[in-house]
Amino acid sequence: MFVAAALLAWLGASLIVLSDGRRGLALGLAVLTVGFAVLTWPSGAVLGASAVAAGGAIASVQCWRSGPATWGIMPAGSTPRVVLCVGSGVLALWVAASVTTGPGAPLRFAVLVVLGLMGVRVLAGRETAVLLAAIACLALALAVAPGVAAASAGPVPDIAGGLVAAGVVVLRPAGRAKADKLGG
């Protein structure tokens, strides 16, 4: 089950990297949330998993409702992004399953690949919806990351991550104005 959850997290992150439309982003967020909610279970128990699921679900719904209603999955010129998704997946799999030892390989894989992909997405993206979706995913990855070290990290990081993921997608950046009025 955990292997499937880790693959779902990678698939969700890849969808966010490959999508430019709000529906594709919302789907990616939802898929990633399901994967992370399952992976959180051993360290965060019911409360932690629920917090991650709730935060990701709110972010996903908000993402679905804002911006132009398009899927925008793999628009023209997406080949580098596909290569990135596959390459990062293979690299993370190698590190998580072969280079590192100990239990929790699926969680290690999911955390490494989502952190890497979302970091790249924010660096390369310009659209607000894309950036906010990537940041929400990053928050969820940060929430489950303590589980890599200890099975009893507790639900606090999960709750904080869920709150941040749900909160960031609600944000709408301020428009332009004269700088004089706001702090010289």
Partner: protein, 351 residues
Amino acid sequence: MGAELLLAAAVTLGLAVFVAPPRVARRGLFTRGLVGLAGMAAMLAAPSLDLVLLILLGMIVLQAGSAVPVAGPVPRRDFATRLRAPILAIALLALGLAFERVQGPTVLERFGVVGIVAGLVAAVGLLPYVHEFDPDESVIASPIPWIAFVGPLLAVTVLSRARQVIPAEASDAFGAMLIGLGLVNMLWGSVASWRTAGDAAAWRYSFMADWGLVLCGFGLAIADGQAAALILLVSIVLGRLPLYLLSREAIREKHPTDRPINLVVAALLAGSAPFAGFPARVLLLRGATQLYWPLALVLAVGMLLWLPAALRLGRSMGMPRGRQAVGAAIVLAVNIVLGLYPQPFLALAGL
């Protein structure tokens, strides 16, 4: 260490609101500053580095979203640009932390150390991750005052939490990387602050130079180095940052002056006696001599480069009047007290 920096940031916020020119919305400045302080307090109270990163993530998005871009046909720093470097910092820190946590070969621990140091450097906008900035941006939107305001506490929190997860075998590499990047930023920052065309950019580079010394102090990993780094961080929050805020008006109006006050400010910025930067530099040189004397030699040469940049920045502040003059006097007084009696402050921080 963190509580002292939080207190210093609170004092600076009060000072910034007090000296803000009439056209600045004081309430907006105060509210955003309070939100920043609340975030810093949460970071200080957070039991793990993961929570610190989550709080930082929230603060970054809030700051980037609420900051109003400069009016113009093409804003130099839009929402995406504001987010880029800080999010890179968080991703690097999180990856570094993940590598430190996993069981595996020693080389992964080294990768983890690289991630943590690179993340910290990216978070405070140092080489090789210098944040894009716009000299016309408001105080609220600009990364320069925000990094100087939040950065010291963030650095102390990240480094103290990171030392808990970094194994002893990798701590030498950790210190060496901090010192190496510190030297590069110190030299680059002081030379660029002296030679760059614009005064706003010169101030920005001067912060980089100070941060370079801070990294060297933390990298030394002995009591003198830690004490020097702490005094330098406090001097950034209570010295360089308020002086930068005071100088913005004169930089906009392009009114540099050559009065005694400018010379005194230059002395403060150069870290000369009796200001706070002086004991920090002495402690740093003493610590470096204990560890490896050629490092002290490089640091001493680098510190000399502060002088021309500090004279330039001192002139750029113009002649403060009214509230600004009171603010400048407070900053000078606080820095003199810290420079003459740093021991009670260091004892408060447990050093």
